[in-house]
């Protein structure tokens, strides 16, 4: 059941992004930027956490989940340290994703060459 929920919610988020791209004719980078920002806003409104509760990876793997994780990390540290928590908490929460992107991204770019 967890797989079905992840599939449906993850698919739904991608479908919205695709619809937004086709209807506005914006380029993919602008849609991706809008999606992470929207995720942060939805997280602030308290709407994203329930989605993660229901869909698990279906909500955290799409880019809006990245914005949500940032906000969650900031608020977690802010609960303890106030303003300084916003400085320390955000990147701590997304560290695994960011570090992996740098590390594996670099590794693969060095190891492989473009095809065709």
């Amino acid at each position: 059941m967890a797989y079905v929920k992840a599939f449906l919610v993850g698919g739904f988020l991608c479908a919205i992004a695709q619809a937004a791209m086709d209807l506005t004719k914006a380029n993919p980078a602008i849609i991706m930027v809008s999606a992470v920002s929207a995720g942060a806003v939805l997280s602030g409104l308290g709407l994203y956490a329930p989605l993660v509760e229901v869909a698990g990876a279906g909500a955290t793997i799409p880019l809006p989940g990245f914005g949500h994780t940032l906000v969650t990390g900031m608020m977690e540290d802010a609960a303890q340290w106030g303003l300084f928590g916003i400085l320390t908490g955000g990147f701590k929460a997304v560290s695994a994703g960011l570090l992996s992107a740098v590390l594996f991204g670099y590794l693969m770019a060095v190891l492989f060459n473009p095809k065709g």
Binding site: Y3, A6, G11, A19, D22, A29, S37, V41, I61, I86
Partner: protein
């Protein structure tokens, strides 16, 4: 250019419109739904596996995105993910595997310009803006939550 000329050109572009392929919006949305859904189901598989051990939830979520980034980067290296991107659009770009793809693809392409200004600089051609705006949005949201509510 005379008025007649302009009118002729307009007529021609209207005539061309019939031959231009229509943007298959419905098809794109359906394909994005199924592709994005499948990628998230794979992520859920990783997450469920990690949670079935003794890993705390927070670590399991973080490690899941790490595994997905690895998969996205690796499949881009193999030349598979770019094809998926052309096929599925946002279905391939929106999951975090797509962010990994946006890192590896230009870095690989610009390798011939060197490892600093080629690979190093181009890695974040798309992921850079994503991180910048995610950080700005999250900071503003958190400030509002902290001081207004």
């Amino acid at each position: 250019m005379t008025k007649a000329n302009i009118r002729e050109q307009e007529a021609y572009s209207v005539f061309l419109e019939d031959f231009r392929p229509k943007r298959p919006t419905f098809r794109n949305i359906v394909v994005a739904f199924f592709t994005g859904g499948m990628i998230c189901a794979v992520g859920q598989g990783v997450l469920s596996y990690l949670l079935s051990g003794s890993m705390p939830e927070k670590q399991a979520y973080a490690l899941t995105s790490s595994v997905m980034v690895f998969l996205g980067a690796f499949l881009t290296g193999l030349g598979v993910y770019d094809k998926l991107g052309i096929f599925a659009g946002m279905g391939a770009a929106l999951p975090i595997t797509g962010l990994a793809n946006s890192v590896v693809s230009p870095a690989m392409e610009y390798k011939r310009e060197g490892f600093v200004l080629g690979v190093g600089a181009r890695m974040f051609q798309v992921a850079g803006p994503v991180i910048v705006y995610a950080t700005l949005a999250a900071t503003i949201v958190s400030l509002i939550k902290l001081y207004v509510f």
